[in-house]
Subunit: 657 residues, 2 copies
Amino acid sequence: MKKATVHFQPIDRKVEADTGANLVDVAMDAGIHINAACGGEGACGKCRVRITSGSVDYRDGATLSQEDIEKGFRLACRCFLTGDVEVTVPREAGLYDAGVAYAREYSGRYVSSQELERLVGGAWYSPAIKKFAVKIDPPTLDDNTSDLNRLLRALKQQHNLESISIDFLLLKSLSRKLRESNWKVTTTIVQTRMESQLGEHQLRGSRRPKMITIAAGDTTRQHYAVVLDIGTTSLWGQLVDINNRRVLAESSEYNPQITFGDDVITRIIYSQKKDGLEKLQKVIVEGLNKIIDALVEESGVQRDCISQVTAAGNTVMTHLLLGLDPKYIRETPYTPVSNLTPPIRAVRIGLNVADYVYLYTFPSVASYVGGDIVSGVLSSGMCQKNDLSLYIDIGTNGEIVVGNCDWMMTASCSAGPAFEGGGLKCGMRATSGAIERFHINPDTLEPMIVTINKTTSRGICGSGAISILAEFLETGVIDQNGKFNCTCKTKRIRKGSEGMEYVLVYKEETGSPEDIVITEADIDNIIRAKAAMFAGYQCLLEKAGLSFQNIERVIIAGAFGDFIDLEKAMTIGLLPELPKERFVFIGNGSLTGAKLICLSNELLDDGERIARKMTNIELSEDYSFMDKYMAGMFLPHTDGHLFPKVIETITDKKQAC
Amino acid sequence: MKKATVHFQPIDRKVEADTGANLVDVAMDAGIHINAACGGEGACGKCRVRITSGSVDYRDGATLSQEDIEKGFRLACRCFLTGDVEVTVPREAGLYDAGVAYAREYSGRYVSSQELERLVGGAWYSPAIKKFAVKIDPPTLDDNTSDLNRLLRALKQQHNLESISIDFLLLKSLSRKLRESNWKVTTTIVQTRMESQLGEHQLRGSRRPKMITIAAGDTTRQHYAVVLDIGTTSLWGQLVDINNRRVLAESSEYNPQITFGDDVITRIIYSQKKDGLEKLQKVIVEGLNKIIDALVEESGVQRDCISQVTAAGNTVMTHLLLGLDPKYIRETPYTPVSNLTPPIRAVRIGLNVADYVYLYTFPSVASYVGGDIVSGVLSSGMCQKNDLSLYIDIGTNGEIVVGNCDWMMTASCSAGPAFEGGGLKCGMRATSGAIERFHINPDTLEPMIVTINKTTSRGICGSGAISILAEFLETGVIDQNGKFNCTCKTKRIRKGSEGMEYVLVYKEETGSPEDIVITEADIDNIIRAKAAMFAGYQCLLEKAGLSFQNIERVIIAGAFGDFIDLEKAMTIGLLPELPKERFVFIGNGSLTGAKLICLSNELLDDGERIARKMTNIELSEDYSFMDKYMAGMFLPHTDGHLFPKVIETITDKKQAC
């Protein structure tokens, strides 16, 4: 990526950024506050800056006059870098220099899925499902063996494939297809390697190649997978081209089961009502079908060229998806029906794909440590490293793993949906228009907002919530208990219908029907969520006889969009205070894992090995968990020694006020 | 079985017979003719004999007066031996002494299925489907692995079963079942041994143990299989207790597809009409369901304790049963869709058994050499012997195999349904009331009839047809072209609605609405059928460079009831003239094979090996077949040298007339 230098005036700060970057983003990274209230698209017109040298790619902001344009004024949220540029930020745009001390670099390392594929060591590209084009000899009187035998013979001769089993349904149309295609067809074959005896692992059905469909002609180039992450709050999906590993489309939805309960426990309770299980299964399948529809539409791929569906979800989500009764997951001693379920035809549960397509679900570890974390751990590569890693999946059901290639311990804690934007008054998933970065001018308490895709703000996602809370704390908008400081001089803090709130975006600024606010109740939800997560890390490390200082790598997963701001997450006490270089962000690791197993048989097997290797610790049975959770209900934590730098920063700022 | 001596008077012939034997049967075996016109149950009263010493078990014959009874008269067809007895046959009962020269012993050796199981050499009792009762540890907080894992662990500990795969459906009710049964359940497991790479063989899906159902408590004693023989004309079924190998019930039906055509070719033609294939599949499944209903009713076994269904049928019947398009079987070069189809759930094609039950169909060899013959060859044990055997399955589609443990060649010829009682005016299957043995008094031309189960005659089955034709030929009732000799002095030969006919049973003798007759057209059908069979043996032996004299064993299979009369079958030229001791009857070998594979994994594998080993010869492409067929349209054959003894006998009798 080409770099460009941006010279901010009048404060004379030069920063380097990628060409194509958005100017508000660049300012945010540089610690320079610009009033950017609407999130983008030039709706509010507050982020007016002047290009005093060089030029930018300016994408039509409606609120500037022709005269302003001629004078060099632009709306920062509509400016994208093309080369070096000097930008003068007028006082009315809210220029505030946070100073070098506070300038944030892009925190943590975001690992792309390409990098992940390298991370997972010696794993080859070896999809479990492959397509093979074959040319078959037509029968003669001297060679009139069955049509099936002819096909199998050709597969052996042309692709060295042997001992193929075949789905019975295929026989129904085999003779016709061979003749209609003039004896040239493409077969789709599930081919996974044989394993030695590995207990429950072996449940995954035969490891012999199995032919699942036959198509006329050569269709080897049309070979796709749908990969799904089934969260308690959110559903995510990608359409992957198996041949070249590319993600062609991505889509997400809230989990429609939310109507029946926010967390897994309330869903289990609902599942025990009459037809409850069937209803929960029906709505989740409907949600996933919406995602598949969107993926098909966005990518332009034909639905019947989808060869495989893989899904990662926690144990309860997996049970509900497959229609397995989760009743005993809730009752002590918390036993799931099964941790490993055999692949089933996706149409059996109602997924809208071709009838031969199999659905693979990730194996779980225990009732509250599911396939989503196995998938994430797989995608993080921690199971292939000697380094001691702490893996954190921040979601409604927070899941934590500590270990390395030799051992792994895991635990889960119910964090609630706040980090997925759920349970917040103006919460939303990390999709287009979600506020994901936030800065506040400590003088004016005016906000600077960056949304996903730089479109008009629509709500707050998890990373936005963390950012907002940290900024509020640092500027004294809230105290360490999370209560608004009513002495602050800003009309943005007001009494709303649900108690005290701060207005992030006025409806007039975006044309939306309601103001976007964050309430004290929202803040309380976020604090509870982070306290549960932190108590989880502490308990698990204690069980393993380790402390935070022993951790060489902290891997952070979660459907936050591309990142969360590391320092801000430390500021609120969601992440332990450790040197920044020890952190790695992998985004939605669960979704990435679901993708990886489409591409590699070795990783498919690794997933099952990881599930077997993990030792589960039941936090619900750990009395110290509740103590630790209560201690975490403070910003950053009641034990200030755990967050020395955060405490120092807050104290510095308070003194500065 | 205890033996008894029967002393026939006034001809002073003593014969030994089993106690419990029927007196008409004993007379028939001894070459003594008694007018026994109705087939049994004392309906016609013609077989009146006098017990002049000893006693019999007499089963109520309505037509005798109290005075007659007191004088010692009995109806022979109602007499069953209990010990030594002297029987005086009055002249009016039609006594005719065929003389020692013509006395027929029970011809050929009938091999019971128990003997067959011994015949098949070192094969062990090792059912592919077994039931295992297990006691499972209930979960605790220290041991809260999934319910499935608990079950698998118990199966390993208590039965040393590992690497079990599981049907997904089972997971749905697993948790509930384990708890409701107080952690004691019985699992049904398909367990077949792993094979090395054997080509199409491998189609039979995984050889790993697979759990197909779970029941509360210990149900290991209720473990049954339904075994089916699916013939073009007849369907046969047995219910087998897998635990103790006993056949608990047997049933049969005509194949309801007959409505759509008598032979496989007309059925294939019908299958190409709109919905034709679906209709053919529907009616055969209905027919098989009738059989299953009858088996369940007769045995008193609960339907859901049927663990397995196995079926043997020719290639076309197997295609139609499974709904596979047989179109290309009929068109040169005659290719089936597949010779080996994977086991499928029986409910998928509509069989009325529990949903977890798999249907195994026998593998075929070629379009016209099907799973029925593979099954029969398996049950005959010829594939395990060094002796050169000729295997003959006499049915609508006559199938012939020559070979031994090292090699096998096979061919098929369309014989028509005559030997199954089909296509005859008064034909019927070999069930209760079917005329299966026949003798004619050469002086009076009056018949002596033995029916299956000694009940009133209802019609003619295959073995009866052979018997009738041979007797007619030997007594000059018909000539060697199969035409009635109109100079015969009997009112039984008459002109009927369909040409000349012989009345076997007058309706007055049985109270049935119509006389039972055999017509010249029937005789022609039987001659065509035997000619096709004989031409088949000749062609196949010629291809193998062998003659009849090289054959060390002739194995005869077919659904004829318990036997056909060997000498009579030679008399009409259906079987080659060879020493009697070379012949073995195995009855319905196809049905027996279907039973054997329920009881032995080794035999299940053998079936597939046999199918692969057989080399198929297409007689339809052999021009010499038609010549040989035409030569066979004579009784016994135009080439008298093939049947020297038969010719001698006929000539002797002619001279005697």
